[in-house]
């Protein structure tokens, strides 16, 4: 199955690369009435899905290969998004409603006199990008270090990560916290001098997202394919045994967790200029859990499946919330229930097994250890 998965991965990367080239061409170089033309709003929508796919790949790396169901990835995603949003806010400059060259509008509105320290340097793009990586990375490092060191595993870990998300969710709602409070950051004008409204910027952002997804897939693939990755999966399947064999289990988990959090942060940073807003609701615990269901639907531990799941579920969400808004939550709820009950390997797992025509060996591990638990 693994070889087939690798081949599938190559196809996936090739398709993404093709999309990264073709979508801008079709969007910009074809006439608007042509059948091949992709209007800017669709480019933007696809770009959004691709960002979600990066988040799904990040989550699959820790959940599918390391057994850590993080319910905090929505928070890392949002933190990356805020870092990008802060850069975009500083770029507005005097074009804001209050035309203050330094302070973003909401600070003028709150009657603040000077820029808070946390905002310093965000007008410089490389620094903002550094923060996109550093903030989720350091938070996950500190959080994971404490959690894995004390051997918090399984549902305990999920709950703790959810509590972290929830705490950030509430904190970002406060005006005093200095990141726009309830309204978040919005009214962005341009990125590196390119207007966010123009079709070419949108196409470029889509391509950047697709390339980032390829990179995320490649990084995750490289980790999993390495000796380190084998140990990681062994930790997933039999943590105690690995520990008894002398492996520093927490270091393996911590590395995967931090890499994954950084990926999520990058995804968030690409997401914000495409949707044009970042606000505290991105921290909502529900978002993180939804990301988990993308991975589950596509197929846990397949990377490609996670990306496909994210795109498929969000496509369905866009369609249903438009067509039958009151039924979407039923649909999403059923998706959670039915996927976990009947599709434990996800769509991709199902497809691969069907072609194998032989029963898949259940991952034995968690079952054995939980059974031995008190």
């Amino acid at each position: 199955m693994s070889e087939r998965l690798d081949r599938l991965g190559l196809v996936f990367v090739a398709l993404l690369a093709l999309a990264a080239i073709l979508v801008p061409i079709l969007s910009l170089a074809t006439p608007a009435d042509s059948a091949l033309n992709i209007p800017p709003y669709l480019v933007q929508l696809f770009g959004k899905y691709v960002c979600y796919a990066i988040l799904a790949v990040a989550l699959d790396l820790v959940w599918g290969y390391c057994g850590i169901l993080s319910l905090g990835h929505g928070a890392f995603f949002a933190l990356g998004g805020y870092a990008m949003g802060m850069y975009l806010m500083r770029q507005i400059g005097t074009r804001g409603v209050y035309a203050n060259p330094i302070l973003p509008d909401f600070m003028v509105f709150l009657n603040w006199k000077e820029l808070p320290v946390a905002w310093w340097g965000f007008d410089w793009f490389p620094y903002a990008m550094l923060m996109v990586v550093l903030v989720p990375g350091l938070l996950s490092l500190a959080f994971g270090w404490f959690a894995f060191r004390s051997r918090v595993t399984g549902v305990y870990l999920s709950i703790i990560t959810q509590a972290m998300t929830f705490a950030l969710f509430k904190e970002f709602f406060r005006n005093d916290f200095g990141f726009g409070g309830n309204n978040g950051l919005t009214d962005f004008k341009d990125l590196l001098g390119f207007s966010l409204q123009s079709a070419s910027t949108k196409a470029a952002l889509f391509s950047a997202s697709a390339i980032a997804l390829i990179a995320a897939y490649w990084v995750a693939r490289a980790i999993i394919g390495s000796k380190y990755g084998k140990a990681l999966m062994a930790v997933r399947d039999a943590e105690s045994r690995m520990r008894f064999l002398g492996y520093r289990v927490e270091n393996y988990k911590l590395f995967a967790f931090v890499v994954s959090a950084v990926m999520a942060g990058v995804a968030g940073a690409l997401y914000v200029p495409q949707v044009g807003i970042i606000n505290p609701s991105e921290f909502a615990p529900a978002n993180s859990i939804e990301a988990a269901i993308w991975v589950a639907v596509g197929g846990r531990g397949t990377l490609v499946g996670a990306a496909i799941g994210a795109i498929a579920v969000n496509f369905a969400k866009t369609y249903f919330t438009g067509a039958f808004p009151e039924y979407w939550l039923y649909g999403l709820g059923l998706l959670f229930v039915l996927t976990t009950l009947f599709l434990p390997k996800g769509l991709l797992g199902l497809a691969l097994t069907a072609r194998d025509k032989q029963p898949v060996v259940e991952t034995p591990a968690i079952a054995v250890e939980e059974g031995a638990d008190p």
Binding site: R151, G154, A167, A296, F336, T340, L341, A372, D373
Partner: protein, 509 residues
């Protein structure tokens, strides 16, 4: 009041001149003859009449009869009478005097209310009436209220002797609340006498200490109240998590269903039974939540036992469906659930303000806790449940039907969540999102308290509830929660399975 004095007073109305009328009002208020209130009220409403020729003052009742103001006898014809004129100055004089007149009301409750009014307004004009009433007051509670009112007036007046000020400080010090504090502050500004100053300062510091103690007690009370809510919401979760090791993300929705059960009960009960609505709501909420809980367990969770993380996702899906179902049935906006009479209002206990609904929720939390302990300790089901919690395989080997215990434990845990919903319907908005607000805090309680023992849950709820309310005024509500989260993360460094972890051999422990 001597009869001739009353005559003199009433004679002043005959002139029908404002200064004379005002003087008469003052005298009536000070002397307070029995008919004074009726006369002043009539005057205020343009119903006071006079006949200068016959030297008679009379008032028309609201029913239209004309009464001789002095004798109280009805008068046949009112043709010769003219109305006493009134202007705004007179009206405000009447208003002031009515306050002091009620000081002489035969009903002690009314006298206390009047004294409290004076305490609030600090109207120096009421002082003579106050002192007159104080001299003849027999009821000690009224006397105390009167003395307080007197002290309040003294504290804000300029020309008062030092002994009077000292006496006022003494009375205010005994009262010892925020009002007293601000009054003594004002008094301190007005005096130059060093004796009075030092007495005021001592009194202030004593009041300050007293207020600090009561303030801490009040925080403790709020903390207890928050803890009881947390305990109710978390204890069912502790049971299901303890027995099955799976997190039920739909637990909050069981709470929500309980709250809606209360709403439906109040909707359907006839008015005569409304006061007893909670007596119907508690069993119904338990039943509804327990049935839904069993359905979740039978239909979903039992197929996922070896995959706890996926159980978390599946039950999250259930919670989405339940929320949307309730939203479709009852609408997305808040439903109004009323407090029965015994649960509304508040009372004072020393410097504490205790709201009845919070008190009853604490009582309910204790009752639920004791009942659950009894079920766990004194019934065969409880014994088997504890066995499964400790070691599922061994319990199964001993002949316990673990599937049956799982189902019953889920029913029990969910039912208790439903009861928590009844309690929450009394203090929170009943909306489809009700459960979401409590679920993460409940998880924290379970993570902190451990699942081996309900005492862990109780201690966890108490610690988190009280710590939250103590941190809240110091660093703000959200920061308080974040600090607690960090504390919990640090705490599980030491005790990864909570306060009351099960002892025994285990791979992971």
């Amino acid at each position: 009041m001597r009869a001739d004095a009353l005559d003199d007073t009433l004679a002043k109305f005959l002139d029908d001149k404002f200064p004379q009328t005002e003087k008469a009002i003052g005298e009536l208020a000070a002397e307070a003859p029995p008919q004074a209130a009726a006369i002043l009220e009539a005057l205020g409403e343009n119903r006071l009449l006079f006949d200068r020729a016959d030297h008679i003052v009379a008032y028309k009742t609201t029913a239209g009869a004309v009464i001789n103001a002095k004798t109280g006898q009805p008068i046949a014809s009112a043709d010769a009478f003219k109305k006493v004129r009134v202007n705004n100055a007179i009206r405000s004089a009447i208003e002031g005097s009515m306050g002091s007149l009620t000081l002489a009301n035969p009903d002690p409750q009314k006298r206390i209310a009047a004294a409290q009014d004076v305490f609030k307004t600090r109207d120096a004009k009421a002082l003579p009436a106050l002192e007159a009433q104080l001299a003849k007051e027999s009821d000690p509670r009224v006397a105390e209220a009167l003395r307080l009112a007197q002290a309040a007036i003294v504290a804000v007046s300029d020309n008062v002797s030092s002994p009077d000020r000292l006496a006022a400080i003494g009375v205010l010090k005994a009262r010892g609340d925020q009002d007293a504090q601000s009054l003594i502050d004002q008094l301190l500004q007005k005096t130059t006498d060093p004796v009075v100053k030092s007495a005021a300062e001592t009194a202030l510091s004593s009041i300050h200490t007293r207020l600090a103690i009561w303030g801490a007690a009040q925080d403790l009370w709020y903390g207890l109240s928050a803890s009881s809510v947390l305990l109710l919401a978390a204890i069912g979760l502790a049971i299901t998590f303890g027995v099955m090791g799976v997190i039920n993300m739909a637990h909050g929705e069981m709470v929500m269903l309980g709250a809606y059960a209360t709403y439906v009960v109040q909707l359907l009960l006839p008015p005569s039974l409304q006061n007893w609505s909670l007596a119907f709501a508690i069993p119904l909420a338990f039943l509804v939540a327990a049935i839904v809980g069993v359905a979740i367990e039978r239909l979903i969770i039992r197929y996922l036992y070896t995959r706890p993380l996926e159980t978390l996702l599946a039950t999250w899906g259930v919670s989405l469906i339940l929320q949307q179902a309730v939203r479709s049935l009852f609408g997305a906006d808040n439903r109004l659930v009323s407090n029965p009479p015994f649960m509304s209002g508040a009372f004072h206990l020393g410097g504490l303000e205790i709201t009845s609904n919070r008190l009853w929720i604490i009582v309910l939390a204790i009752v639920v806790f004791v009942a659950l302990q009894l079920v766990l300790r004194a019934t065969p089901f409880g014994l088997q449940m504890r066995a499964v919690t400790q070691n599922r395989r061994m319990a199964a080997a001993m002949g316990i039907s673990t599937a049956r215990i799982d189902m019953l434990a889920f029913a029990l845990g969910s039912g208790v969540a439903g009861v928590a919903g009844v309690a929450l319907s009394q203090i929170d908005n009943v909306s489809p999102n009700l459960g979401q607000g409590y679920i993460i805090d409940s998880f924290m309680v379970v993570v902190f308290g451990g699942v081996g023992n309900l005492w862990g849950t109780a201690l966890g709820a108490l610690t988190l509830g009280i710590a939250n309310k103590i941190l809240e005024p110091v660093i703000g509500a959200v920061q308080g929660q974040i600090v607690l989260l960090i504390v919990i993360i640090l705490f599980i460094q030491k005790r990864p399975r909570g306060l009351f972890a099960l002892k025994g051999r285990a791979v992971e422990a």
